[in-house]
């Protein structure tokens, strides 16, 4: 029974106690994401300090997977450079089979520290739910568009 793999303790913890929840008064970047088919919503505020993501705030509603993924993502990218955050995004998408690439974790890469996000690997066995896990990341990609400015 793989449901226990899907609903790991850490996922339910992030779902029930989402990290970095709220809004920034003057965000440097913002994006709204939505999965129109299930109605899940994510809003991301970012504050930059040079090329570094200094602060992250998340709002949203949805299933345990999308909300836990958002919470974990917020934790993981806070303090990272934009480049490292993008790197992490690709690592995550590779792990989830959303993008081609190595799913394994190469500790030498700066964006490799998936941390709690590894708990989302169980979602891969539930293809319908992969979009849920990806929603915060797709929203982040939107927020980071044009950052750093070319």
């Amino acid at each position: 029974m793989s449901l226990d793999d899907l609903y790991r303790e850490v996922i339910l913890d992030h779902y029930r106690h989402p990290r970095r929840r709220g809004a920034l008064e003057h965000p440097d970047a913002h994006a709204d994401g939505q999965n129109p088919l299930c109605g899940d919503e994510i809003a991301i505020d970012l504050a930059f300090d040079g090329d570094r993501i200094a602060d992250v705030r998340i709002r949203g509603r949805g299933c345990s997977i999308s909300q836990a993924s958002a919470s974990m993502m917020a934790e993981a990218i806070t303090g990272k450079t934009i480049a490292d955050a993008k790197d992490l995004m690709h690592r995550f998408k590779a792990m989830m089979d959303i993008e081609p690439g190595e799913a394994g974790l190469d500790a030498a890469r700066p964006g490799a520290a998936l941390g709690d996000l590894e708990a989302l690997q169980g979602v891969r066995r539930f293809p319908v739910r992969i979009k849920c896990a990806d929603l915060p990341w797709a929203t982040l990609a939107q927020a980071l568009e044009g950052h750093p400015p070319a």
Binding site: L3, D4, Y7, L12, R16, C38, D40, E41, G62, S64
Partner: protein, 409 residues
Amino acid sequence: MTDLSHLRADFPLLQREMNGRPLVYLDSAATTQKPLAVLEAMDRFYRRHNANVHRGAYALAQEATELYEGARAKVAAFVHAASAREIVFTRGTTSAINTVAFGWGLYHLRPGDRILLTTMEHHANVVPWQLVCRHTGAELIYLPFTADYQIDLEALPGLLDERVKVVGLSGMSNVLGTMPPVTAVAAAARAVGALTVVDAAQMTPHSPTDVQALGADFLAFGAHKMLGPTGIGALWGRLELLESMEPAEGGGEMIRDVGWNESTWADAPHRFEAGTPPIAEAVGFGAAVDYLSAVGMDEVHRHEAELTRYALERLGEVPGLTVYGPADVAQRGGAVSFTLADIHPHDLATILDQQGIAIRAGHHCAKPLHRLLGVPATARASFYVYNTREDVDALLPALAEARRLFGVS
């Protein structure tokens, strides 16, 4: 208790396993499974009688035309239309409502006019009217519902006056199960000169429909929610209204004459059927209403009412479970939406799916309604002729497992 379990053998898909369990299909409000009689009717059409309709002077085309128009007559009889000419075949319920919005609304609505909808409408009975309002300057107003999920008849007189030109309401809510008193609303609408458009997507499949008795002006429904194929639905309209309407789409078959700059239209219903229609699908639709008529729509309704009563009882046993919809089975149909503690409906659906149970989770194309309910999503179990008490029983351990996984006490 009515027992229709012998029907299950007619539905090949219900013999399937899902995730290692026998499939328990509880999503008929989204789409129903199809009996062999429907699949065979369509297959036979393609193997023996396929030709384009209305166009050929050869026998094969005549056969196809007779089967197509014969299906129209069957669907007309099923809803007690005055004549087959009152049935327009469309792509589905959504298309049927758009046909009214763009064929009647676009040409008759003006700034200051109002369209009255209920707050429990499916997007199919909201968005077409929003589009038409944008084009015409008419505005939408909404009839609320009461604490027991019935449309608020006391609020009706305050909203329904001569400014209202169209009243749109669902014969049964696909979320709440509510079955509003369509006849009373249609009579009130008529009294102020408004047309009544009934979204019968969830009504016609589940109980006898008599358009004469309803007193409405238009009725939209679709085949795939009543054992028929995808790709086809029907708009019933009063003939004189259909004859006064403009087509929403242009093309072949719907014309009387085509000039370089202007055309004249064929009579109803062909005026509204531009291009090659869904021919095999009409044949399948006809077979579906034959099947339902053989079961008997009163029987279908009784069976579902009993199943719904049983489901509400059993779901009432689950701690933390909230049902959205009327408690009184006499006033509701068999779509039962609920939430369980803080478990998101999507998670519920995944957990139930692992037990072979198919339920739907989400806003069910009724986002405004969900905003009123104060939840972004609900889980929904819905029933049809082939469902049994055992299907309802299967929900219980699965919901218990959800509570365990989420540590809900």
